[in-house]
């Protein structure tokens, strides 16, 4: 039998207030519940600022490197002001980098146009491929800094409320809200199943039986998910859910938000218009 909805809800509560699961996923937005100048900003302002920032960084020429360091100042300041530990940030960036890393590292293999780069007292001889590789990695790090700066300083519910105000379809917002709430419950459940398998399976069983075991695990997880959904639905109907997602997050643009918006526009404009032509 699946877990009863009450325990599910309790687990979600536990999750939301500092949970103890081993998954790195569960720890990911623990910093969103801190309080700082950045945390108090309106989620819409932050979201749009990060979106524009990412677009600006991506539109930089594909071989300019040193300007990326200047662009990094913005998200860096946000992260520091938000009190997010930098070790956590870099760990997170490393965790999601493999695909980009492979593609970036393949650049030097294909573009071997030689060039010499003068960098202060140093003169470096390399290829355009390497420059591109570094530029891709640099852009990756800078845009990831911005994204982590957004996510780890904004509660997901606030972000969702902001997104809905920005015109994201209501159905999708509700879907995201549910998904966020129950990810950790189901991941927890998957952990139990995996533990059970590890306890019973002492050796590699061969592909056929491995596959059968895995599919049975996924299948039972699926059925338990459906049952849980039915229970949750009954509980929600009982409490008068009518398809509208109500949230206590209050969204209003205050003076601090305006200030943040002006500063970020100023920052990007200055870098793009004045610094970019000089500093390539």
């Amino acid at each position: 039998m699946p877990a009863v909805p009450v325990s599910g809800a309790l687990r979600v509560l536990v999750c939301e207030f500092g949970c103890t699961y081993q998954m790195h996923h569960a720890h990911i937005d623990k910093f969103a519940y801190q309080d700082s100048v950045i945390h108090r900003l309106d989620s819409r302002v932050k979201f749009i600022a990060v979106l524009v920032f990412t677009a600006v960084v991506i539109s930089l020429p594909r071989t300019s490197l040193s300007i990326l360091a200047c662009f990094a100042i913005g998200p860096f300041a946000v992260l520091v002001l938000g009190g997010i530990p930098l070790r956590f940030v870099f760990k997170q960036i490393l965790l999601v980098s493999p695909f980009v890393l492979v593609l970036a590292l393949s650049c030097p293999l294909y573009d071997r146009t030689p060039l010499t780069v003068a960098f202060g007292p140093f003169l470096w001889r390399g290829t355009i491929g390497w420059m591109r590789c570094f530029a891709i990695l640099g852009k990756f790090v800078v845009t990831m800094l911005a994204l982590i700066g957004l996510v780890s300083t904004t509660r997901f519910n606030d972000l969702l409320a902001g997104l809905q105000k920005l015109g994201v379809p209501k159905l999708l917002v509700i879907q995201l809200g549910f998904l966020y709430r129950y990810i950790f419950v189901l991941i927890d459940r998957a952990h139990h199943i995996l533990q059970a398998r590890a306890g019973r399976k002492l050796r590699n069983l061969g592909f056929k039986r491995e596959l059968r075991t895995a599919s049975a695990m996924v299948g039972s997880l699926f059925i338990r998910s459906i049952d849980t959904a039915e229970h949750i639905n009954i509980a929600m109907q009982g409490r008068g859910f009518d398809g509208r997602w109500r949230s206590i997050s209050k969204l209003q643009i205050r003076r601090a938000d305006l200030l943040f918006a002006i500063i970020s526009i100023f920052f990007m404009l200055v870098l793009y218009i004045f610094v970019k032509p000089i500093l390539q």
Binding site: C70, C107, L172
Partner: protein
Amino acid sequence: MHMANELLSVPVAAGTLAIAAAAIGFICRKARQVIATEKLALMGILGAFVFAAQMVNFQIPAMPGTSGHMVGAVLLAIILGPHLGTIVISSVVIIQCLIFQDGGLLALGCNIINMGLVPCYLGYFLYKVVTAGQFSSLKSYIGAMLACLLALEAGAILVPIQAALSGVLAVPFSTFLITMIGVHFLVGFIEGLITVAVLAYLQQVRPDVVLDCLPGKVRLSRGAVLITLAVFSIIAGAGLSLLASDFPDGLEWSYAERPDQPDFDSVVSNEDPRVAAVDDFQSKYSLLPDYSGRTSKLGQVAVDEADLSAGWTSFAGVVGSAVTMGIIWFAASILRKRRPSKA
């Protein structure tokens, strides 16, 4: 195969975001009319199920050390129908981007198209074509297998196309394409195997779920299927023809210079002063001025004073940025130390 920001140019990112947003908006509006509130919980939980199912890994033979897991798009499309399947998978992709930072914010449109829209609709369509008529479990297994293979492959093929349209990669298009097809053939095959096995399990335990009876399923009419397929093929065709006509990457370099042949004259040499002015403007505003040192005559590099000074400005820029960040960090840490003592 999460696309990253860096592999896209802004126009491509904006275009794919617009396509994905339009599609999701349309589907949501359509679906809102059909589904009742009690399906909302089901969809949300199934989205979380995708995350949990991805944790269930198993050993792949012949490749020790690697383990496979499922993606789940085709399974959800088969069970929920393509509309709701797409919404669920898109929400998974969005959460992966926003909470786990897997895939960039600007690349969200690409990721929704590659991993949500295309696999769900194509997979559902293929499954329906194969299982048309009398239901038999063999037919449904073949259909699911085929759907997984082709749907994941189609999504994977879009990745190099989008990257090539953006012109960010130095990797030749064909190499990238072949790698993606090869890798995702394997991924699709394993996905197919586990989807078939899960379907078989579900048929034993809850046959009602597999046989179209799950509540909240939106049926797709034959006309709608054909129209979506046509739209997809037009988009794919347009993308491919764009690639064929002006491949933005290799071409640009090849006519400007040939590093392997120092005596090679540029094919395009235009003496028009306006063109020269534009070139000058471009070199000022787009490329690294440091690059002007690449007049490579048999490895000899001419570095004149202009290049050196450009090198110094970029050095100053990087050092200045580092110093600024250091100052911010120090100021913040001092402020933070002070705050508890005040309180």
